[in-house]
């Protein structure tokens, strides 16, 4: 009969009133992401060997880094002088952590980046080092599950 569709629709919305709600209480309760979620990177400056792979693979060129000779003259290699990620253009694509041979840069599931100024989004080495909560456990999936490389 004409109009039954309307009434059935009313039934659907009416029943919905008594079903559990799906709203999350986000600012009051932190939103729990699955462990694989790509959030703001965590940097271990000591592990970095300044191979520049992360800066090269980055599709948006948001990473700028520079190495300096190791302060301890006994040791070879370089250490980081500075390491900046510009979160204005970083798209959190996970490529930098993927290519890092020493897992010096890893993802965390932190995602809150809002600031009052654009400049504040340019994060330096110290800030990235201090970002050490919710660090992702597994960062290099291919190497764990694949024998190809």
């Amino acid at each position: 009969m004409y109009g039954t569709g309307l009434l059935k629709g009313l039934g659907v919305t009416f029943k919905e009133m008594f079903k559990p709600k799906v709203t999350t209480k986000y600012p009051d309760e932190p939103f729990e992401f699955p462990n694989r979620v790509r959030g703001i990177q965590k940097l271990y400056p000591d592990k970095c060997i300044v191979c520049n792979q992360c800066a090269i693979i980055c599709p948006t060129q948001c990473i700028t880094l520079k190495g300096k000779p190791h302060p301890d003259p006994e040791k070879k290699g370089k250490v980081l002088e500075y390491f900046d990620i510009n979160f204005e253009i970083c798209i959190l694509c996970d490529f930098c952590t993927e290519v890092c041979p020493t897992e010096a840069i890893v993802m965390t599931t932190n995602f809150e980046l809002a600031t009052y100024s654009r400049d504040a989004l340019n994060k330096d080495m110290q800030w990235l080092d201090a970002n050490d909560t919710n660090v992702r456990e597994l960062n290099l999936p291919w190497r764990q599950t694949s024998s190809s490389s």
Partner: protein, 335 residues
């Protein structure tokens, strides 16, 4: 209070009446505030959400916060608008919605006026608020609001007549246009039973008059952005909204009175509950009903709306009148 009207007025009684009118206004403002809250809560619940819950316990102060925000919000007249009309429009949209409460009796004892043509007064005055919408839409000099205003006019001319014709059935049963008499005539059985067709027509037409989903064409968020309200901000916008919601309650009260026995309880055994409670309960039900529809239905198109009104509701209403008069003539044994 109703019997005061039949005696010469003393200054004291006049004062009491004015005071009660102001109280009515206060009650209405309160109801509107919480109607918006209820609307948002209901919509939320029906959409798997929780609705407003941040301001005050359970979000109870949300609308109050909104009103305060609107009160302190900058509001200006667009440069190319028709200034006097633009400023006048919210008032014209609001005033009739409140004035119609003058003829709505709250119980058989409490009424602000007692005029023989209550129903006609209501219908005549209430349709004025469309004028405010048209004025606002046109005066804004905004193309969206112009289209919204034109749609408002289109809806008014299509739904006014079914509304009036549907109410005619009730008038025939009661033999009076006085709203108190109409309610008293429902002592035996509520009008919704003998006048079910009329009730459905009236309800549909009322929704269209109120610009409520599925007939919210004048605002049509997804088409006309906000239709006639596009250029209104701050308290001018608030008054438009207020008018809309006050009208919602006026219409709810009218439906309760015309079809659901006004202040009469469903069964005489429930007489101990005061009549005004029954009226308020029924009014609230019909004022909240549109929110449920809003959560469910999409919007109709303007041409569908007009053809539906003229080709379905109009003939149906005419048949309803003919049928009612026939039944009443035969049942009444008119010579």
């Amino acid at each position: 209070m109703r019997d005061w009207l039949y005696e010469p007025l003393s200054a004291e009684r006049f004062g009491w009446m004015v005071l009660s009118i102001l109280i009515l206004l206060g009650v209405l403002l309160f109801l509107v505030t919480y109607a918006i809250y209820v609307q948002r809560k209901l919509l939320g619940w029906m959409q798997s959400r929780v609705g407003p819950n941040r301001v005050g316990p359970y979000g109870l102060l949300q609308t109050i916060a909104d009103v305060l925000k609107l009160l302190t919000k900058e509001s200006f007249v667009p440069t190319h608008a028709d200034r006097p009309l633009y400023l006048l429009a919210p008032i014209v949209a609001f005033a009739p919605a409140f004035v119609v409460f003058a003829v709505i009796p709250l119980t058989d004892r409490i009424a602000f006026t007692d005029i023989g043509i209550g129903l006609l007064f209501y219908i005549g005055v209430a349709s004025l608020s469309t004028l405010g919408v048209i004025m606002g839409g046109w005066a804004s000099n905004n193309k969206w609001s112009l289209i919204g205003a034109m749609r408002a006019a289109a809806m008014m001319i299509s739904y006014e007549i079914p509304l009036v014709l549907a109410a005619l059935g009730v008038v025939m049963l009661a033999g009076s246009i006085n709203l108190v008499d109409i309610v008293e005539a429902q002592r035996g059985v509520w009008n919704v039973v003998p006048q079910f067709v009329g009730f459905v027509i009236f309800l549909i037409a009322a929704l269209a008059e109120l610009n409520r989903t599925p007939f919210d064409l004048t605002e049509a968020e997804s088409e006309l952005i906000a239709g006639y309200q596009v250029e209104y901000s701050g308290f001018r916008f608030a008054i438009f909204m207020l008018g809309e919601y006050v009208y919602l309650f006026a219409m709810g009260a009218l439906i309760a009175i015309l079809y659901f026995g006004g202040w009469l309880p469903p069964h005489p055994a429930l007489d101990f509950i005061p009549g005004i409670v029954w009226l308020v309960v029924k009014t609230l039900f019909f004022a909240y009903l549109p929110f449920w529809l809003q959560a469910t239905f999409p919007r109709v198109r303007i041409d569908q709306l007009m053809t539906f009104s003229w080709k379905v509701l109009m003939p149906l209403a005419l048949v309803n009148i003919a049928f009612t008069s026939l039944v009443k003539t035969i049942a009444g044994g008119v010579s």
